[in-house]
């Protein structure tokens, strides 16, 4: 049987989609709206530094962010292809997944800097 990469991309897309659906609403609400706008008192620096500096947080966030980036890349690939009718198949795929892989390295670097 011929090996095909496409099923694995769909699997990663689904996994990242579930993670985004479950984790992003609360993370966005708290860190992008409630804390900056003072709806909820932001945590003091010592506490939040202890939370994001913990190795478990590092691993969880790296996993979550990587899956979400692959999910976004896969979906945006089809947005370009079907939605905006960009028919350069290989170029679109390379740009989307390349962007996601680059994003994973950025995530590794930024998360590592806080640990």
């Amino acid at each position: 049987m011929k090996f095909r990469v496409e099923p694995f991309l769909w699997l990663a897309f689904s996994g990242g989609g579930v993670m985004a659906a479950i984790f992003l609403p609360v993370l966005t609400f708290l860190f992008a709206l409630a804390f900056p706008l003072g709806w909820i008192d932001p945590p003091d620096h010592d506490h939040i530094a202890a939370v994001v500096g913990h190795p478990i947080t590092f691993l969880v966030l790296l996993g979550l962010f990587s899956m979400m980036l692959i999910h976004a890349a896969h979906r945006f690939r089809f947005t370009l292809y079907d939605g905006l009718q960009v028919k350069h198949r290989a170029l679109v795929a390379a740009a989307c997944y390349g962007g996601a892989v680059f994003g994973v390295f950025v995530a590794l670097h930024m998360l590592g800097s806080a640990t």
């Binding site: 708290l30 008192d41 620096h45 506490h47 939370v51 945006f76």
Partner: protein, 133 residues
């Protein structure tokens, strides 16, 4: 029966770029697809947040100030709306994408959707507790 080859398929008529604004369901479909851009933005935003925390108290305060600037609040409100659209549409599509059976009987779609919302509540409560305690 069609005898089209891959080669023939290349000669299909081009679809207009704005084909999706003509019908509500197409529009919602494209909006749902566009959620990917906002998910990528929020991952970047959260990474910048983590980085600022790692750089010390002053950087953390500066980040919160920057995050409360009007254009960023507008962007994040829009991003939050797209995330909610993603969550709602994702949860309601799951039973169609995944058929679960327990002891040979199909789990009803409502149960799958309900379980996901329960997961959302538990995760949200845990994160709120973890960062604000």
């Amino acid at each position: 029966m069609s005898t089209q080859t891959q080669e023939d398929l290349r000669f299909h008529r081009r679809v207009p770029v704005l084909w999706w604004i003509r019908k509500r369901s197409y529009f919602v479909f494209v909006m749902r697809e566009l959620s990917s851009l906002f998910i990528a933005w929020l991952v970047l935003y959260l990474l910048l947040f983590v980085r600022s925390v790692g750089r010390g108290e002053q950087a953390y305060e500066d980040f919160l100030d920057w995050a409360s600037s009007p254009w960023l609040v507008v962007l994040n409100v829009v991003a939050f709306a797209f995330v909610v659209l993603h969550t709602v549409t994702w949860f309601s599509l799951t039973p169609q994408a995944m058929v679960l059976a327990v002891r040979g009987r199909r789990v009803p779609p409502a149960a799958i959707i309900g379980a996901q919302y329960a997961g959302l509540v538990v995760v949200s409560a845990f994160i709120l507790w973890l960062v604000t305690r």
